[in-house]
Symmetry: C2
Subunit: 408 residues, 2 copies
């Protein structure tokens, strides 16, 4: 992370309702079968906000992603509300699913009192099953009635599927004597009951930010946060990160304050992203993978992702085995420039391979280090000077159990 450009960047307790002018709700609408389980979240800004989003690159894109992308284009990057359900991904549901996603936005817009294209929608849960629209439509007025400026935590719960805990974060930054706040929530745990996982992130801010600048900031930050984590290398049909900027702070972020705003946004998104990894299915360790000495930043990222997704590396870390040979072998097969005779492997601060020679005598020290819950591994590719960091979790038998035993 780059150094903050202002001294007053402050991480605060909170989430999506911490910025001024946002209310939220999280209720049980009956989309999840379990009685009382929260499954419908609503975020409403008290005034039109600018909006931006980053969506899944999966070509089997789900209906709510199609609708939200369309609404952002039609509204010119303006939104009043975001409505999210868990328990059903509304993916692979054909034309009927598309109509359901449109109706979800339209019904919300009628309640909020805004054009339909100023509502963004997201869904997470089962693929290939129709949304229970009767439950959803009956739940929306209840969600409206339940809106509150302290209800960020309930909304964060309502978007969870197999997540072991909710993910919220907030940060405050002072710009020219005034402060702006950025808050967010996310869900995602690896794979989701019973089908594909989804990563969803929602961020609010009371800064005023023009749509194009907001999109640029979100894209820049997502690349280093949500796009730099991996639980199992899978990419869902529904992945979405959305941001609303309502200007309620009275502070306008333009090119001059851009860096400070991005710092706050980055802090919030990174905390949410790391929360997703910590809560990864079966995860027992948070693993920071840093690749240095790459020919380009893209090659560094490619190698770091290959390491972070390697079942060999992830099982070794799970078992506390300082198996540096696996790190080298994955770097060697990652499809990037790699120079074995100049490569270096570290586990935490311990060098295990350097200049073409193993230092296996350090293995016991590295094994001891691997007992920690938060660990780091580093590979220098021995080629150039570019670097990349990604975060992942270990691979446990519990992961297999969670993903193998549904329906059986």
């Amino acid at each position: 992370m780059s150094a903050p450009t202002v001294q007053t960047l402050e991480i605060v307790a909170g989430g999506i309702t911490t910025p001024r002018g946002f209310r939220a709700a999280g209720i049980h609408a009956g989309i999840k079968a379990k009685a009382g389980a929260l499954d419908l979240a609503l975020i409403v800004s008290d005034r039109p906000a600018t909006a931006a989003a980053v969506f899944t690159t999966n070509r089997a894109v789900a209906a709510p992603v199609v609708v939200s992308r369309d609404h952002l284009a039609r509204s010119g990057g303006i939104a009043r509300a975001v409505v999210v359900n868990s328990g059903c991904a509304n993916a692979c549901t054909g034309d009927a699913g598309f109509k359901d996603a449109v109706e979800m936005a339209t019904a919300t817009a009628a309640l909020v009192g805004c054009p339909a294209d100023q509502v963004l929608v997201a869904s997470t849960g089962v693929i290939g099953v129709a949304l229970k629209m009767d439950h959803l439509l009956a739940g929306l007025p209840n969600a409206m009635a339940a809106l509150g400026a302290d209800n960020g935590p309930l909304a964060a719960q309502a978007i969870m599927t197999t997540d072991p805990f909710p993910k919220e974060a907030a940060a405050r930054v002072t710009i020219g004597g005034h402060d702006i706040t950025v808050g967010g929530m996310a869900k995602g745990s690896g794979m989701i009951e019973p089908m594909m996982a989804t990563m969803l992130g929602f961020v609010t801010t009371d800064a005023a930010v023009a749509p194009a600048l907001l999109q640029r900031a979100l894209r820049e930050v997502v690349d280093d946060t949500f796009n730099a984590i991996t639980v199992d290398g899978e990419c869902s049909t529904n992945d979405s990160v959305m941001i609303l900027a309502n200007g309620a702070s009275g502070v306008t972020v333009d090119e001059r304050h851009y860096a400070a705003f991005v710092d706050a946004l980055r802090v919030v998104c990174l905390r949410l992203a790391l929360g997703i990894v910590r809560g990864g299915e079966g995860a027992t360790k948070l693993v920071t993978v840093t690749v240095t000495g790459a020919a380009t930043a893209a090659e560094g990222r490619k190698a770091a992702k290959a390491i972070a997704n390697s079942p060999l590396v992830k099982t070794a870390i799970h078992g506390g085995d300082p198996n540096w040979g696996r790190l080298i072998a994955v770097a060697g097969r990652a499809g990037v420039e790699f120079n074995l005779s100049r490569a270096r492997v570290t586990i935490g601060p311990i060098v295990l391979f350097n200049d073409g020679r193993p230092h296996d005598e350090a293995a016991p020290e590295a094994a001891n280090y691997l007992k920690n819950d938060d660990i780091s591994v580093g590979v220098d590719l021995g080629v150039g000077s570019a670097a990349s960091t990604v975060w992942t979790c270990d691979l446990s038998a519990e992961y297999v159990r969670i993903n193998a035993e549904y329906r059986t």
Copy 2:
């Protein structure tokens, strides 16, 4: 697999010593710690043979791969012997490891009575540990003394590491009234004690085949067999497939008999490759993944590999869950052209998704089908007419245990 071009292609019991003019040995030299464990294999042709090989694409390439590649180039594609040890990969061992691999070949050549560059070498086992050269050099004369025309099975055992069973195959084909035989052995099980896995394959034939044609045949067949399997998406520092053709049958394979020879070679390599998948670490099922409707064969292969390496797909199959949504989602993220509204997903003969619509009502039938040990899944990308098939195994908690618990 293409249809055989001759009626007389016959799969026979046997391995590397089934073709005429080849002897082999498998002995305990003491490279593996376990008393009596076979760890040194030797294959010797009774006359100079043409030779070809396909090696790992890993950039952290092991010393024996460097030496074998160099010997093939120096000898002009001629070899008399192949010497293989298990228990130590001689990888990431620097200059000393390179000297050891050269000495392994030189010492073998002295015993066989041929130039050093007519000996190919291979190693599999621990990365980053030096070969026990005293044990290896003391073992070589014993291996020479033990050479026999019926000892293919012992050699197949001597190259095993965590493999649950040896892999051997042979086929006979008649060309112009004369028969030629192709035999082979392989090892590879996923990951290897205690570091990276290695896949090794050795094929012999008593056909006479010019080096360039032999290399062409091997490359063609390896792409559809050894390169079409995956246990966990990892590629080792030592992966090698080598073939020796000694002409002892008196039959010369030229362009005219090429197709018949390739058919026999393909049968042998496919059986060996499927043996590796069946013996994959923790594997309980052999999974055939067929992708159709791809824009190009390369895109079909890319999508099939993505599916075959998906932890979501592999855990679902392990659990007997007909989770077609995971197959779609992986196809969608595979980085290939994909048309959701024309895509189709099948599990065995059962259609679960077609023309943009789920057929979840067939899920119980598919769940029943998934109880079989050999299963197939199919995804039509809905774009073009190209296809690709790859083979993999399921992902079990036992895989995690095997790879997590070394050293702990």
